[in-house]
Symmetry: C2
Subunit: 180 residues, 2 copies
């Protein structure tokens, strides 16, 4: 079938806690075969909390993949069978101690679909109430609060580089300005 690929075999190279690496053999539409290096990941969810004064809360942490400290929306990996919104609200509570009275889905992104199955769901959290945060052990994060407009400017000037964070801010803008 046009544009389809059929998996002929899968060789699991590595099975970790974060991802599984695999090497597939696939049949292309012209009958030829090719190999596909794959990263299999359960997916993630991130959430942007915006308070009634128009301030947002982000987290700063060292990211081993990027090899540097990044400022991002709070996010985490989906647990087995977990609903993405449940995951996002769990992270919001654990990392920031926030509860949301209203949650608006902002879609999802395929992070790097050529070889990685990770799909990252994004949410906007409104009508916030503050509780106690309780980050995972061994998780060192700083909490950063700033006006929404300042963060949006940081997307455009290239200071905020994380993909899901940029998308969350750009998509939230339309909703917060009442254009959606």
């Amino acid at each position: 079938m046009h544009l389809s690929e059929k998996t002929l075999s899968r060789n699991i190279i590595y099975e970790g806690k974060v991802f599984t690496a695999a090497l597939d053999s696939v049949e292309l539409e012209d009958g030829s075969t090719a190999s596909r290096e794959l990263v299999l990941h359960p997916g993630g969810a991130g959430i942007l909390p915006v308070d009634d004064e128009g301030n947002i809360t982000l987290v700063r942490q060292f990211r081993a993949g990027a090899g540097c400290v990044l400022t991002e929306i709070c996010a985490g990996k989906l647990e087995k069978g977990e609903n993405p919104e449940t995951c996002a609200l769990r992270e919001l509570s654990e990392e920031l101690g926030l509860k949301a009275g209203r949650v608006i889905p902002l879609g999802f992104m395929e992070a790097t679909p050529a070889y990685d199955s990770e799909r990252t769901y994004i949410y906007l959290a409104l009508e916030l109430s503050q509780g106690q945060s309780h980050p995972d052990e061994g998780e060192f994060i700083d909490i950063v609060k700033m006006p929404f407009e300042k963060a949006l400017k940081a997307v455009y000037d290239g200071t905020l580089t994380d993909g899901k964070t940029q998308l969350a801010l750009l998509k939230a803008e339309r909703i917060l300005r009442g254009k959606a």
Copy 2:
């Protein structure tokens, strides 16, 4: 140092053509150690061509990571030492046969920075001229032309799911409307 991680050792698990998988041992800021599963990737570049009539050109292809056909901006992996803009223009020519009289950088995104080093650079291509495309062998792609506004709507309604494609369209909108 606060928020930093120091790499103590690296164990290469797999070295492929697309990515390398590694398992690092790192020292955290409190002196404890942790392991980090990593995908090392050279990075990529994607480009959104917009013609003088406000039409854009995207590509549709099967994506092994996502496991489905996706519609995306034309993009590719950086060759060793390659400048991201050079890569984007190479892909624009190879996949779409287009040359750009004007290229505007739209920043980059960390695709999934917790474990993957891939950084994807994004560009807007204007003042286009059409030549002959010459896709790589074994690369089956469909070329899709549509009005910019239709694609932007597809970002908001969740039809266009690729991260770099969503970011390219949202960031290009601001430039095309003269807000930047």
